[in-house]
C-alpha cells in the first residue's frame, strides 16, 4: 500500500489532507516543517510527499531539493496558496510532479496523488 507523507505547518490542513485520503487505505504520516519532513522521509521513503512551501525552520523549496536528493523515487506534490506562475514553474523545475493551489477540494488531492502513483 502506498505511503504518503503530509508536510504542512498548519494542523488544520494536515487533518484536511488526511481526511481527503482516508478512504484510500494509504499509509499516512505527517510532518509540520521541512526539517521534520526530510528526517522522516529518510527513514520512511514515502511514495508520495504532499509538501507546503511556506513553513517554519526550513522552506518547502529547500526541503524539496533535499527530498529529491535523499529519496529520488518519492513523487512530490506541492500544495500551496502561493500559486504564482513563476513559483509554480520553479517548483516543477525543481522536481515536483504536481502543484495544487490552496484552498483545494479533496477530490483534487485524491486525483493528484492517484495520478503520480500511476506514472
Amino acid at each position: 500500500m502506498p505511503n504518503v507523507l503530509i508536510v504542512d505547518d498548519d494542523a488544520f490542513v494536515r487533518a484536511y489532507l488526511k481526511d481527503a485520503l482516508a478512504e484510500t487505505g494509504y499509509f499516512l504520516s505527517e510532518a509540520s516543517n521541512g526539517e521534520e519532513a526530510v528526517d522522516l522521509a529518510s527513514m520512511e521513503r514515502p511514495d508520495v510527499v504532499l509538501l507546503d512551501l511556506l513553513m517554519p525552520k526550513q522552506s518547502g523549496l529547500d526541503a524539496l531539493a533535499k527530498l529529491r536528493d535523499i529519496c529520488p523515487e518519492s513523487r512530490i506534490i506541492v500544495i500551496s496558496s502561493l500559486d504564482s506562475d513563476s513559483l509554480v514553474d520553479q517548483a516543477l523545475n525543481a522536481g515536483a510532479k504536481g502543484f495544487v493551489a490552496k484552498p483545494f477540494h479533496p477530490l483534487e488531492i485524491l486525483g493528484a496523488v492517484r495520478k503520480v502513483l500511476q506514472v
Binding site: 494542523a11 487533518a15 481526511d19 482516508a22 496558496s81 504564482s84 520553479q90 477530490l107 486525483g111
Partner: protein
C-alpha cells in the same frame, strides 16, 4: 540570478526566490508581513539591510495598490455579467450529462480564485465585493446544479458501492446534534458575533467533526445561517453549569451548503486566538461530559 529567502512575522520561510518572483508574490498579496530576509537561507537581516529586496517589496505593494485592484474588480464584474443567464455546465465547461463529481471538480476549479482566503486583509473593498459577488454566483449555480442532478446522477467510474456506503455511514455518524442547539448570530456595522450555548448535549461540536475539531483549533457550528468561507467573526461560548464564558476571534473554514446534503447544515470555524487556559477549560468540559456518559452506561 541572485536568490533570497524571506521570513514572515509567523517565522515561516520561503525561498530561494528571485526578485521577480518575490515582486509577483507581494503584488498579488500572496506574501505579506515580511520581517527578515537572507541571501543564503541561514544568516538573516532586516529588510532595510537588503535594499534591493526592500525596493522590490515596496514596488510590489504599490503595484497591487488601489488602481490595480479597482481594475481587477471591473474585470471580475465584466466576466460575471457574461456568465449570467447561462447554464451551469456551460460556465463550468463540461458536458451537460456529466456526473455530480465532475460538476463539483469543475466548480471548485472555477471558484478557487475568488475564495475570500485568497484576499489579503488590506484588499480594496471594491475588489473584495466583486470577489464575493462571483463566489456567491458560482456557489448558487453549483447548489442549483446539485438540486437538478440529485439522485439521478450516474455513479462516477471507480466509485465502489463499498466506498459509497462507508461515506454514508460517516455522514450518518456525524454530527449528532441539531441546528436548534445553536443560539444565533448578531451582526453589527463592523462585527459578526455568534453565540453558542454549550451543554452536555451539544458538546460534540468540539469533537465530532473529522476536520473541524478542538485538535485543529476548530469547532463546528450547526446553524441554518449562512456565512461565506473566510468570514471573520467573534464566537462567544456560554457553558451550561458554569459561569465561564469564552470569546474568541474565528474564521469560517468549512461550510455545508448542500455539498454533503445529508449532514447537518452549518459551518466550521477555526479559532484564531484562544488562550491556553480557555483551551484547557473546553477540553476539561468535553472530558467531563465523556466521563458522565461512561458512568451512565
Amino acid at each position: 540570478m541572485a536568490n533570497y529567502w524571506i521570513c514572515d512575522s509567523a517565522n515561516r520561510i520561503l525561498g530561494p526566490l528571485g526578485l521577480g518572483t518575490l515582486r509577483e508574490l507581494v503584488a498579488s498579496g500572496r506574501v505579506r508581513e515580511l520581517s527578515k530576509v537572507s541571501r543564503d537561507g541561514s544568516r538573516w537581516q532586516t529588510l532595510d539591510e537588503v535594499p534591493e529586496v526592500s525596493r522590490v517589496v515596496t514596488e510590489g505593494a504599490a503595484e497591487g495598490g488601489e488602481r490595480a485592484q479597482k481594475f481587477k474588480a471591473a474585470q471580475i464584474r465584466s466576466r460575471l455579467a457574461a456568465m449570467r443567464g447561462r447554464k451551469a455546465h456551460e460556465i463550468f465547461g463540461i458536458a451537460r450529462a456529466s456526473t455530480l463529481d465532475h460538476y463539483r471538480t469543475a466548480f471548485f476549479r472555477l471558484v478557487k480564485p475568488f475564495h475570500p482566503d485568497k484576499l489579503s486583509g488590506d484588499t480594496h473593498p471594491d475588489l473584495r465585493a466583486a470577489n464575493e459577488e462571483m463566489f456567491k454566483f458560482l456557489s448558487t449555480l453549483m447548489v442549483e446544479a446539485e438540486a437538478e442532478l440529485g439522485a439521478a446522477t450516474p455513479r462516477s467510474h471507480g466509485e465502489s458501492s463499498t466506498s459509497r456506503s462507508k461515506l454514508r455511514e460517516k455522514q450518518d455518524r456525524i454530527p449528532n446534534y441539531g441546528a436548534e442547539e445553536f443560539v444565533g448570530i448578531k451582526r453589527g456595522p463592523h462585527f459578526i458575533e455568534a453565540t453558542v450555548r454549550v451543554n452536555p448535549g451539544n458538546v460534540g461540536i468540539f469533537t465530532d467533526h473529522s476536520m473541524v475539531n478542538l485538535s485543529t483549533m476548530g469547532v463546528f457550528l450547526p446553524t441554518t445561517h449562512h456565512l461565506p468561507l473566510g468570514t471573520l467573526l467573534d464566537v462567544r461560548f456560554v457553558f451550561e453549569n458554569s459561569s465561564r464564558e469564552i470569546k474568541a476571534r474565528a474564521r469560517v473554514v468549512w461550510e455545508n451548503v448542500g455539498v454533503v446534503a445529508k449532514s447537518v447544515s452549518g459551518f466550521g470555524v477555526r479559532l484564531l486566538r484562544l488562550d491556553k487556559s480557555d483551551q484547557l477549560f473546553i477540553q476539561q468540559y468535553v472530558d467531563q461530559k465523556s466521563i458522565a456518559q461512561v458512568e451512565r452506561v
